[in-house]
């Protein structure tokens, strides 16, 4: 992108602005595709975490042991959190290393604080997806859960886009719909906050990305949104425990 389009008609007139724009685009694409990959991987791992063991009967031998049901859920959650966070950290560091090797200014100019905040937000996304997926795994069969979780994940991206359209046309009901979708599926909010931390001052690139992928977000998420996300995650884990604690293992 940086090498092939600097002087085409598409970029004609942008002059020296093109290169920073392209660098921002490349960086954002790296984060977006990798976070999508890690979210889908999390759904794949989590959707059958409990349901497949329930279906196969594998769980019977384990739950007949002196362990509480909540311990089983926490065990599964803990193991999967470690796994997805390891994958996510590998992907996140790969992006940083590759970006630094190619001398992308978006990466080389990052401060330690930005990297740490961005990394934590990058990890938060799969962990949030996992909390919801685990609840689904207690309630649904593995395939149904996987399909539903992918739908909810994609819905989050649409929510951000709807909110952005609402802001563009200045329509409060559209903005409200977008916010409601983001409450149901807050994953895009986490991602866009991470993106704002890692690639700041990149509104033009963000608009281009939104147009290309039909995803995006409106205003930056407030602290209350993150309080909501924490409640969302804890709530789904609590629901999973509650549901699983009264479930008959047949």
């Amino acid at each position: 992108m940086l090498n092939y389009f600097p002087n085409t008609s598409m970029t004609h007139g942008m002059g020296n602005q093109f290169r920073p724009f392209a660098i921002q685009m490349v960086t954002k694409m790296g984060f977006q595709f990798s976070s999508m990959l890690i979210a889908l991987l999390t759904i794949m791992l989590g959707s059958g975490a409990i349901s497949s063991e329930l279906e196969s009967g594998l769980i019977q031998g384990v739950l007949a042991r002196p362990i509480h049901r909540y311990q089983y859920i926490f065990g599964k959650l803990g193991g999967l959190v470690i796994l997805v966070c390891t994958y996510a950290t590998l992907l996140f560091s790969s992006i940083l290393v590759i970006g630094a090797l190619f001398g992308l200014s978006t990466i080389t100019s990052l401060t330690f604080s930005q990297i740490m905040t961005g990394w934590l937000l990058y990890l938060l996304l799969p962990v949030a997806v996992l909390c919801l997926t685990l609840f689904g795994s207690v309630s649904l069969k593995a395939v149904s859960n996987g399909i539903l979780m992918i739908f909810i994940y994609i819905l989050g991206s649409v929510g951000g886009m709807v909110e952005m359209i609402g802001q563009y046309v200045n329509n409060n009901s559209i903005i409200g719909t977008g916010i409601f979708i983001s409450l149901v599926s807050p994953f895009q909010t986490i991602y866009s906050t991470m993106e704002r931390v890692m690639v700041p001052n990149s509104e033009l690139a963000a608009s281009a990305m939104s147009a290309a992928s039909l995803s995006g977000s409106g205003k930056p998420a407030s602290l209350w949104m993150f309080v909501y996300i924490a409640i969302y995650m804890l709530g789904f884990v609590a629901l999973a425990i509650r549901k699983f604690s009264s479930k008959d293992i047949t």
């Binding site: 009967g57 031998g61 007949a64 002196p66 362990i67």
Partner: protein, 302 residues
């Protein structure tokens, strides 16, 4: 009582899997739990092990209420549909279960159970590569790992060859001799007859009979009679006295008696009526015939 239940009932929607189950199992015995497929045996075992929650009723296992986690420390369970982590080796699986039960002297106990179930030398192979019989053996090893006071064995020999079945019978007897209680669910009635002290018959989710094995099998005696001179008149006269009298294809007669004391009077009756007696062979009733009588009379399973 090591197991005691009061009106234990489990409904799945409008279907009743177990209804008003009352059990009293004394410690130190081998307790047979018999019934046809779908009778509710496995559901009942799962309620006792805390895997399934009763719709109503109550009970205690090892002195603790049903579902109590601490009771499971001294409990072993081999599920009917045994399935274990097939990516683990047999040794990994036993180590995993040893960790779940926080077992002390893990190494010694694992060696003990591997020897007991005959899997020494196979423990480093993956469970997925085990034959069905070996998987059942490793399941049994997991169930016995904690030196349990109470063991639930749900169809423990369903995948085993005759030698394997005998091994399991020996293990059950050894457990009993060590003071453990074995709750055995099996369709192999000869096996149950060989090892059980008491049995309970369950049909369509309800207990239809509970008895000690010796009482159950001694209630009736089957007698084979070989004699000459049994005329039609004599047969009809005897049939009036013994409704179960039947003539077999080889000319011999069979009759069911309630008591051994009836045998001399029957022999005297035959001789006094002119028959020449060659053989009178009493047979103790088998569990299979008792099962057929008790469960068969109740009609087809649900």
């Amino acid at each position: 009582m090591i197991i005691e239940t009061h009106a234990l009932t489990k409904n799945y929607g409008n279907k009743t899997a177990c209804e008003q189950i009352n059990l009293s199992v004394e410690a130190g015995q081998v307790y047979g739990f018999l019934g046809r497929n779908g009778a509710g045996k496995s559901t009942c075992i799962k309620m006792l092990t805390g895997l399934v929650f009763p719709t109503s009723g109550s009970g205690t296992v090892l002195g603790k209420p049903l579902g109590d986690v601490s009771a499971r420390e001294k409990m072993g369970y081999l599920p009917e549909l045994f399935r274990y982590q097939d990516w683990m080796t047999g040794l990994d699986l036993l180590n995993f279960h040893a960790q779940l039960i926080k077992l002390k002297s893990k190494k010694d106990q694992i060696s003990r159970v591997l020897k007991l179930v005959g899997l020494v030398g196979q423990e480093n192979y993956k469970v997925g590569s085990y034959s069905k019989g070996m998987q059942q053996r490793i399941g049994l090893a997991c169930a016995l790992l904690s030196n349990p006071q109470l063991v639930f064995l749900d169809e423990p020999t369903s995948a085993l060859d005759p030698i394997g079945r005998k091994d399991v019978r020996d293990i059950i007897v050894a457990l009993k001799n060590e003071g453990a209680t074995v709750f055995l669910n099996s369709h192999l009635l000869s096996e149950v007859e060989a090892v059980c002290d008491s049995v309970t018959f369950i049909h369509k989710g309800s207990v239809i009979k509970s008895a000690r094995m010796d009482e159950l099998l001694m209630t009736k005696i089957s007698l084979t009679i070989r004699a000459k001179g049994i005329t039609e008149d004599l047969f009809s006269t005897l049939s009036k006295e013994h409704e179960s009298l039947q003539k077999l294809a080889d000319g011999s007669l069979t009759v069911s008696l309630k008591d051994y004391e009836e045998i001399p009077s029957l022999a005297a009756s035959l001789i006094s009526r002119g028959a020449t007696l060659y053989e009178l062979t009493p047979h103790r009733e088998t569990l299979e015939t008792v099962f057929m009588q008790i469960v068969g009379e109740e009609g087809p399973s649900s």
